[in-house]
């Protein structure tokens, strides 16, 4: 689980760095950046699935509403951010992807606080 958390963090941070780089170079999101954003969505979905399985296998998250709220928000946010990246053909579209990837890292940190047992 630690490995998965690290993987999610690294994918998010690399995507964020790439997005900020694109924004700094005045590039709009291309397939590389969108692919990175897609990868963020993928690892986030895997994280959600694993947490869901752990919950179903007898875990006891103290606050299920918040837990799944964060997981769903994170996923929707990454998909939405990628969509803005497609639709906003300027550096700012790239920046949206970068911001969304950064927020995903924050959400992951909050997930660890919400259900520490799920990541143990």
């Amino acid at each position: 689980m630690t490995a998965l958390s690290i993987l999610v963090t690294v994918v998010c941070l690399v995507t964020a760095a790439l997005g900020f780089y694109y924004a700094a170079r005045d590039l709009s999101a291309d397939l590389v950046l969108l692919g990175a954003a897609g990868l963020v969505a993928l690892v986030w979905a895997v994280l959600g699935a694993v947490i869901g399985l752990r919950d179903a296998a007898g875990g006891h998250p103290a606050d299920r509403v918040t837990l799944y709220g964060y997981l769903l928000t994170g996923f929707a946010m990454v998909i939405g951010g990628s969509w803005v990246g497609v639709w906003e053909r300027s550096r700012w579209g790239s920046m949206v992807i970068a911001v969304v990837a950064l927020v995903a890292v924050v959400l992951l940190m909050r997930l660890h606080q919400i259900w520490p047992g799920g990541f143990a």
């Binding site: 590039l27 053909r89 700012w92 911001v99």
Partner: protein, 170 residues
């Protein structure tokens, strides 16, 4: 709400260069061809405000549904923050950088963050549970304090320079 373009109709004999509503087919970055499809920095603001709308709404509704009496003042202020964020998001989506509504709402938001932040420092007893705006948005990395300042800066600048600013601001 008034048509934002009427504010600037005195500046130039209007409409010679209204970008045609071309589809997404001309997408690959053609600088200068940023028509109505490109919002520039506005897009970033809309996304961040949208996220805060969601976060604040979810937070305040969950808190209120669970135990409203635990910290009524804090929960109500969270709700106010949530509604403000939703209103700013809608104003930005609809009116864009020249929206007067967005400008006023951002001012309200800034006053709200400062007032609630100060109140939470002076009288912590009122806040047994945190709000989005407690201690100037500490729990959210002070982004709630920064956000209205950045938005106001952007909105005022967008007004001064007019629609052309959207191109030079890229």
């Amino acid at each position: 709400m008034t048509d934002p373009r009427t504010h600037r109709s005195d500046a130039a004999p209007s409409v010679p260069s209204v970008p045609e509503p071309t589809g997404a087919s001309d997408a690959p970055v053609s600088p200068g061809a940023t028509g109505a499809s490109s919002r520039g920095f506005e897009a970033v603001l809309i996304v961040v405000y949208g996220l805060f709308s969601l976060a604040a709404t979810a937070r305040s509704s969950v808190q209120m549904l669970r135990d409203f009496s635990f910290a009524p003042v804090a929960y109500l202020l969270s709700l106010v923050a949530a509604l403000t964020y939703i209103a700013v998001t809608i104003a930005l989506v609809r009116g864009g950088r020249r929206s007067t509504t967005a400008l006023v709402l951002c001012l309200v938001e800034l006053v709200g963050v400062l007032a609630v932040g100060t109140l939470s420092v002076l009288d912590p007893a009122l806040f047994p549970d945190a709000t989005v705006w407690s201690v100037y948005g500490q729990g959210y990395g002070y982004v709630p304090l920064l956000l209205p300042v950045v938005a106001l800066f952007f909105l005022v600048r967008g007004r001064r320079k007019g629609p052309e600013a959207s191109v030079s601001a890229r």
